[in-house]
């Protein structure tokens, strides 16, 4: 089964051709990072404008790279949420038009499910049925959550961020440290050789026990990053010289606080679920310090660790085509892509508590 994936939920315009949910024949990504860098974050209006020009270029490139004909495609799969609505609409409209003229179905893919499917783009990863139950730490600029994958299309939300996403927290920290954008890679670079114990930044809700969120999630498996950002702000106010003299130490300490709280909640989840396989997806999954922590965690709990290939951590369309392909092959099917839903949940609200 040959699926063309289209992704435009945030600041990347992407298209990819994937066979049978796993084999990537092409993956074209136009990243807009340079356009958003001066603003220290994604500007939705800039993103929408760029998607319009990028969509036809990227889609044609995906087909050319894959060396397939348009009519070889079995379906077009497009991210229909969650994301920025004005950005989602570009990919959705392009995909629907392609499907219409090709006479092929157009499937709507949940962006978060696509990130989960990215795990299986590693040719060495086992098939989903063998990897499940799978504990997935999903960490990006827009999302941070812990999900138990019981099978393709069958997910249980264990925890989520109570405020900022991990990547967003790194962006804000990098901004405060004057390091630029995007935060994850610039902080990682600045932290090299720094002392990660220089400042003990808070791990947000570290000591919360036996408390639930309004939608029934255990707070001990949730994240909170807003206090961390404030702690850095106050540290810089109280020790202005540190920005010059201890930049590497501050970057390392800040990164440590983010990655440590991610690993800590993943460990708690590993203890309470039957999952013996751990995966990490999303842009923050590129972080070497987080990867090292998860390797250590997996070793201590005799769990298997599946790390998404670096090329498929940040937003791409291979994972979108993969998610649709995996569902189709599992016999679950995909919903038709009709509307953009900026707050599309991975798991329906009433089953969030499991």
């Amino acid at each position: 089964m040959l699926v063309l994936g289209i992704e435009s939920s945030c600041d990347e315009t992407a298209a990819a051709v994937v066979r049978d949910g796993r084999a990537v024949l092409s993956s074209a990504v136009n990243s807009q990072i340079a356009s958003h860098r001066p603003y220290g974050g994604v500007v939705p209006e800039i993103a929408s404008r760029e998607h319009v020009g990028s969509f036809p270029v990227v889609a044609a490139e995906a087909i050319a790279q894959a060396k397939v004909a348009w009519n070889d495609l079995d379906a077009v799969a497009v991210t229909h949420g969650p994301g920025l609505v004005s950005s989602l609409l570009i990919g959705l409209s392009g995909a629907r038009a392609l499907g219409q003229t090709l006479g092929k179905p157009v499937w709507g893919v949940n962006h978060l499910e696509a990130h989960l499917a990215g795990t299986f783009l590693d040719p060495a990863a086992p098939p989903p049925a063998e990897a499940c139950p799978l504990l997935v730490l999903m960490v990006s600029g827009g999302h941070s959550c812990l999900v138990e994958m019981l099978g393709v299309g069958d997910y249980r939300l264990l925890g989520t961020t109570l405020d900022d996403a991990a990547g967003e927290c790194l962006d804000k920290g990098a901004n405060l440290l004057g390091l630029g954008y995007p935060g994850g890679p610039v902080i990682e670079r600045a932290a090299q050789g720094g002392d990660s114990a220089f400042v003990k930044f808070p791990r947000g809700m570290e000591h919360a026990r036996n408390r639930k969120t309004d939608n029934g999630l255990e707070i001990e498996m949730c994240f909170s990053f807003s206090g961390l950002k404030t702690a850095l702000l106050y540290h810089l106010k109280n020790h202005p010289a540190d920005r010059e003299q201890h930049l590497a130490d501050l970057a390392a300490s800040y990164q440590e606080a983010v990655m440590d709280s991610l690993a800590q909640r993943a460990e708690r989840a590993l203890k309470v679920t039957a999952a013996r396989t751990l995966a990490c997806v999303g842009g923050v999954a590129k972080n070497a310090s987080l990867r090292a922590k998860l390797e250590d965690l997996a070793r201590r709990h005799q769990a298997r660790l599946l790390l998404t290939p670096l090329a498929y951590c940040t937003d791409n369309a291979a994972m979108v085509a993969a998610a649709a392909g995996l569902r189709a092959l599992a016999g679950i099917g995909n919903p038709p892509a009709v509307e953009a839903d900026p707050s599309l949940p991975l798991v329906e609200e009433d089953s969030a508590a499991g």
Binding site: R37, P38, Y39, G40, V43, E45, I46, S48, R49, H51, V52, G53, F55, P56, A59, A60, W70, N71, S86, L89, I90, L92, S93, G94, A95, R96, A97, L98, Q100, T101, L102, N175, L176, G178, L179, G180, Y181, V338, E339
Partner: protein, 239 residues
């Protein structure tokens, strides 16, 4: 732009109805006719039109503003089916690019790109205001100059001056809302409730001329607040 203004103007003199007279009779026509799907979604009164050469075969109004932008797809399928056409028959796509509703313009332009991609069909664009000006010039044989305007949000309107022969004259202007009718006092201001129509986008395309950019017309910058930079050239946190 300058190069195609003369050609754009030609349609003002030769309305599509009269062009029919010069066409070869159907039976003996050897050259396949150019079939065009025209899209105009710069206002809530959006629409689609099918043209065969310069003749409008079918048209449909599609209220596809804002949240209803996706209705364009069903409307296009219905319009084609009603005319007995399929997407395979369509040889080119002509799109109005505003100024107007960002969502409508982006969705219609991207839809045209998607329909055109597999067979590399042309996607041609014009300003939507030029399509409206062409329609008004055809209705009002005495008018020499027209001003087309529309809401531009943030307390402003946009306006463009059009000449029967020259096409658009000068740049788009952003004016305070209450200045409607005051700029260009010698020109006739087109009533603000007149919306550009897909039929006329299609006719402008059939009259020839180069495509404009395949992007909506943006009269406001994407970001109002300029980014701030420190002495070292690095961006500063928002104030």
């Amino acid at each position: 732009m300058n190069a195609n203004r003369g050609r754009e103007a030609a349609v003002f003199f030769v309305p599509a109805r009269r062009a029919k007279i010069f066409r070869a009779p159907r039976k003996t026509a050897r050259v396949p006719r150019m079939k065009t799907l025209a899209l105009e979604f710069s206002t809530d009164a959006g629409g689609l039109a099918l043209l065969e050469d310069a003749r409008v075969v079918a048209a449909a109004a599609v209220a596809a503003g804002g949240r209803r932008s996706q209705e364009l797809f069903a409307a296009a399928a219905d319009l084609l089916a009603g005319a007995g056409w399929t997407f395979a028959d369509v040889g080119a796509f002509a799109v109005g690019r505003g100024p107007g509703s960002y969502t409508g313009l982006r969705v219609s332009l991207t839809a045209a790109h998607g329909w055109a991609l597999p067979e590399n069909k042309p996607v041609w664009t014009t300003s939507s205001a030029a399509a409206l000006a062409a329609e008004i010039f055809a209705e009002q044989p005495d008018a020499a100059r027209l001003v087309v305007s529309g809401a531009a949000r943030r307390g402003t309107i946009w306006a463009g001056l059009f000449g029967r022969r020259e096409g658009r004259i000068g740049d788009w202007r952003l004016l305070p809302e209450d200045a409607r009718g005051q700029a260009w006092p010698d020109a006739h201001w087109v009533a603000p409730d007149r919306a550009p129509r897909a039929e006329w986008v299609g006719r402008l395309f059939c009259a020839g001329g180069a495509s404009e950019e395949r992007q909506p017309i943006y009269l406001h910058p994407a970001v109002v607040a300029a980014p701030r930079f420190g002495a070292d050239g690095r961006p500063l946190p928002p104030a």
